[in-house]
């Protein structure tokens, strides 16, 4: 290694450098600033802006610091007469065609060109000819374009190719006629597209929803954690007079690097939706009345107490969002257990809970996010991290680019941005059989034993070539991962998926990971927001009902914490019915949809993720706390305060915390001995007949990227993206469409559980034959039934 270290001199300072580094990298590490536009540390070197010209001793001309590798004994001067002269010259050329519209440009105040023009620009232009004008293209609802401002650094083009994996933006023409635009005039379909806003050094690409709403210098910056997926991306919310204006990434090499997913960046535009609850409200004879907090809490307590007195506390059900904070999960379950009900759950989208007792303490990725990019083989079961956890998807893509074999077993094919094998399973049975075959292939290869519970199933299945390849890939890799994706829990045979995936991982001796929907599923499990487990995984002696069961066998009263069961539950129709039939629905929520206003009795306004203190635990098991970024809207209150107050009035003791930090401190203490571990021992599996063949049309489902939670569903810019607009369409394979005479119809009537709903229809080869795909969590699906199951269709 020591040979690789060389010594160079920059501005008279002697610096150590590794061979292969460029001058600009060494200078950056030493804190010597060299001006640049096209160089970006996460992108390849293009060396086309020439702003980074520096003087190198013994070189006849200045050299580009971003493209010059270091050599032993090299002497660089970044501020010499020659270097300054060259830099100023470049700047003059750049400013020739750059418009003078800084006062109306949203980049003004944080613009790299503006900053450098201050140091290197001339105050009077010598250019008297006409400036160039470029017409803008509409590239979707997230990114605004002012292409006259473009300085052709090609960072955005390289971002598209190298990071997003889609050639969305490209340069056409040369010199004066060079244009940056979308090759095909379509919206940028990437789930990371918002990053071009940060990557662009000038104001050519900017944040569209934020357009013209504030200036950079008047914003205050608050560090927060992503409330949408289990990656736990770090970002900043920028507020103006207490109101959130936009989100920008916060660099954290271990988690999100310098990037941010569009869902995290643009979801903040949903928090001020019209459906936001402003004040506590009570329903009296069908009419809503705004009341004070005191009255609302008093009535809530009365209602709960009367249900407990007349029917017993086990008739109360409680559902909490997996994206609630750790503190909220903890207080919520303490409150419910305090009044004698263990019917607490955050897993609304799940229906198979048969392995609950043997499940690990909390879902865990099985490794650090950083380690994912060095994997050689990954088998993903039930999920598409690219859309479900975009920055985990980005790590997987990096691994794929380094040659890893990435394999998916899913109910539908997904559009991927890297090389991978996708294996499709039309039915839930089929998916389990495929996994069993992979396990069997591995068993034959390794001669190892499998758990007794699986033996019978493994005997039934036959192994084909595909499954052998998967087994082979996993077996020969030194570093591999079997990952249960966040969509797998929708399967009615989830316990089989868990058992088999675990079996595959242990047969191949590779890591095993599980990730769940929501930002804080790991935290929810540790905090005890589960019917069968309390804090830190200790068993509850009187386990309650799981989310699905408490909706199926309807309860008298429900306490909802920022969930919309009629959209998020596995069986939406049943959830919807349970809500309507209950005596009392108490909704602590950010928003109230018209549907919620129909069934709820008490609405308690909850502070949004931007307005509360809290902690999220990400898929790696990393605890990340944050404080409120924005002023609370109207009369809302942070969740932990509402729950604390309720606990106090309901005489639940020991919850008199005075801050969110105090709660997480207590929890940390209680979770001190918990080591995250995915081992599944002695799994109990439900009886299932895998030989029966169901020939009827099946519904398959997953949760689309912009339908994951209430805020995202209300963020208009996200809903207007391609992903957002396709979420509420029913997709079917052309062959199957022909079978049901749907190939020419634009709309389809879908009947499930006797309820018929009309959807617009999309023919899509990604859906296996014999199935129709309808997303979960999509507004309009309230009356539909289970996420998986029989369904009828007819043209309409």
């Amino acid at each position: 290694m020591t040979d690789d270290i060389i010594t160079i001199e920059i501005d008279g300072r002697t610096l150590q450098a590794r061979k292969g580094q460029t001058v600009i990298q060494v200078a950056d590490e030493a804190g010597i600033h060299i001006p640049r536009f096209c160089y970006h540390k996460k992108l390849s070197v293009a060396a086309n802006c020439r702003m980074c010209l520096v003087e190198m001793e013994k070189a006849p001309k200045p050299v580009a610091a971003c493209a010059t590798p270091v050599m032993a004994g090299m002497k660089i001067k970044t501020r010499s007469e020659q270097a300054r002269e060259a830099q100023k010259g470049v700047m003059e050329f750049l400013l020739i065609n750059h418009p003078l519209d800084c006062p109306i440009c949203d980049q003004g105040g944080e613009c790299e060109l503006q900053d450098l023009a201050l140091g290197y620009g001339k105050d009077v232009s010598r250019f008297t000819e006409a400036k160039r004008v470029v017409f803008d293209e509409d590239i979707g609802p997230l990114v605004s374009t002012d292409m006259t401002r473009c300085i052709h650094c090609t960072r955005c083009v390289r971002f598209g190719e190298e990071i997003a994996g889609l050639r969305e933006l490209g340069a056409t023409g040369r010199g004066e006629n060079m244009r940056i635009g979308t090759y095909v005039k379509k919206a940028m379909a990437s789930e990371l597209s918002g990053n071009v806003i940060d990557v662009c050094p000038v104001g050519a690409l900017n944040n569209k929803p934020y357009r013209f709403s504030a200036r950079t210098w008047e914003l205050s910056q608050h560090a927060v954690i992503s409330p949408h997926d289990c990656v736990g991306s770090n970002f900043y919310l920028h507020t103006l007079r207490g109101k959130v204006q936009r989100a920008v990434p916060r660099e954290n090499e271990a988690i999100n690097e310098t990037w941010l997913a569009d869902r995290d960046r643009f979801s903040c535009h949903g928090i001020y939706s019209e459906q936001r609850i402003a004040q506590p409200q009570l329903k009296e004879r069908g009419k809503w009345r705004k009341v004070s907090w005191d009255e609302a809490i008093e009535v809530t307590v009365e209602r709960l107490q009367s249900v407990i007195a007349s029917r017993g506390s086990e008739t109360i059900g409680a559902l909490i969002s997996p994206s609630a904070t750790l503190e909220e999960h903890y207080l919520f379950q303490c409150l419910l257990r305090g009044i004698g009900s263990s019917n607490i759950d955050h897993r609304l989208q799940q229906c198979d809970f048969s392995h609950d007792e043997t499940m690990p303490v909390a879902p865990w990725l099985g490794m650090d996010l950083n380690a994912v990019e060095n994997l050689q083989a990954v088998l993903i079961v039930g999920g598409n991290p690219r859309k479900d956890q975009p920055l985990l998807g980005h790590r997987l893509r990096k691994a794929a680019l380094r040659g890893a074999a990435i394999m998916y077993v899913n109910h539908r094919a997904y559009d991927l941005n890297h090389l991978a094998e996708q294996y499709l399973a039309a039915t839930c049975d089929d998916l389990v059989i495929q996994l069993a075959a992979i396990a069997k292939a591995l068993m034959q290869k390794t001669n190892r034993a499998v758990p007794d519970a699986l033996q019978g199933l493994l005997e039934q299945v036959e192994v084909d070539e595909q499954q052998k390849t998967i087994a082979e890939n996993l077996h020969k890799a030194d570093r591999a991962l079997v990952l249960i994706g966040s969509q797998a829990s929708l399967s009615p045979l989830y316990s089989y998926i868990v058992a088999l995936s675990h079996c595959i991982a242990s047969l191949a001796s590779v890591s095993f990971g599980t990730i769940h929907i929501g930002a804080n599923a790991t935290g929810a499990c540790l905090a005890g927001a589960l019917p069968h487990r309390k804090v830190a995984g200790t068993a509850d002696e009187q386990p309650g009902l799981s989310a699905h069961k408490m909706l199926q066998s309807a309860r008298r009263a429900y306490l909802l914490f920022n969930v919309e069961p009629e959209l998020e539950a596995w069986d939406t129709a049943t959830a919807h019915r349970a809500m309507h039939e209950a005596e009392a629905i108490i909704a602590i929520s950010n928003f109230a949809s018209p549907t919620m206003r129909e069934y709820a009795d008490i609405l308690l306004p909850l502070a949004s993720f931007a307005e509360t203190d809290g902690t999220y635990i990400n898929a790696e098991g990393r605890w990340q706390s944050f404080t409120a970024a924005a002023k609370i809207q109207d009369d809302a209150q942070p969740g932990w305060k509402i729950l604390r107050l309720l606990a106090d009035r309901l005489n639940v003791s020991d919850l008199a915390f005075n801050s969110a930090a105090a709660i997480s401190k207590v929890l940390r203490e209680q979770c001190r001995n918990v080591v995250l571990n995915n081992t599944v021992a002695n799994i109990k599996l439900p009886q299932h007949d895998f030989s029966a063949h169901n020939r009827r049309l099946q519904r398959i489902a997953d949760i689309p990227i912009y339908s994951t939670d209430a805020v995202v569903r209300r963020s208009l810019p996200l809903q207007q993206t391609i992903d957002g607009m396709e979420a509420d369409k029913a997709s079917i394979h052309p062959q199957t469409a022909a079978e049901y005479k749907l190939e020419t119809s634009e709309y389809v009537s879908v009947t499930q559980n006797g309820n018929t709903i009309e959807f617009s229809l999309q023919l899509n080869e990604a859906i296996p034959e014999g199935c129709i795909w309808i997303g979960l969590g999509v507004p309009g699906t309230e009356a539909l039934g289970p996420a998986f199951g029989d369904i009828e269709v007819s043209a309409s």
Partner: protein, 163 residues
């Protein structure tokens, strides 16, 4: 004794009264400073810094582009602006408030404005009757601009060579 006598004589002959009347008399015939405000007004410099106004272009379009430079430069934090994208895609203010109690009439806002939108007019005799009226809104500022446009324009013209 002698002092008291002089004092008695002075008061007897109204000496001090005449002394005072002498001043009165002098000013009675001297050139007058007083003007009959508001019918009469003193002349003002084209650089006078009175009440603010927002100007328009000759075609009636408001000049202000919501760049908020005036808000940023204001030493008294008297200006508050909210902005948005107007339907035609241009950047405009939805609110432009100046708190005239906070304002110190320094004129920095005018200096900062890239499009000569906010200006300080020669108009200085304004008053408020109720609390809250001291915050002057965008529409009123535009109206002031319309009212004084001619004067504002000529003033900027005369001063342009010094700027």
């Amino acid at each position: 004794m002698k002092r008291r006598l002089i004092s008695w004589l002075k008061s007897f002959f109204f000496w001090e009264l005449f002394q005072g009347l002498r001043v009165t008399g002098r000013y009675f015939f001297a050139r007058k400073f007083t003007i009959r405000f508001p019918e009469e007004r003193t002349p003002k410099s084209p650089r006078y810094r009175g009440l603010h106004a927002l100007r328009r272009y000759p075609n009636g379009e408001e000049r202000c582009i919501a760049c908020k430079l005036c808000e940023a430069v204001c030493p008294a934090l008297a200006i508050t602006i909210d902005s948005e994208e107007r339907e035609d895609g241009t950047r405009r203010t939805t609110r432009y408030d100046i708190d005239l109690f906070k304002c110190v009439y320094c004129g920095f806002c005018e200096e900062a404005c890239p499009v000569d939108a906010v200006v300080l007019t020669r108009f200085h005799d304004f008053h408020f009757e109720e609390r809250g009226q001291q915050v002057i809104r965008k529409l009123d500022l535009l109206k002031l601009g319309d009212r004084f446009e001619e004067e504002i324009a000529t003033d900027r013209q005369t001063e342009s060579k010094y700027r």
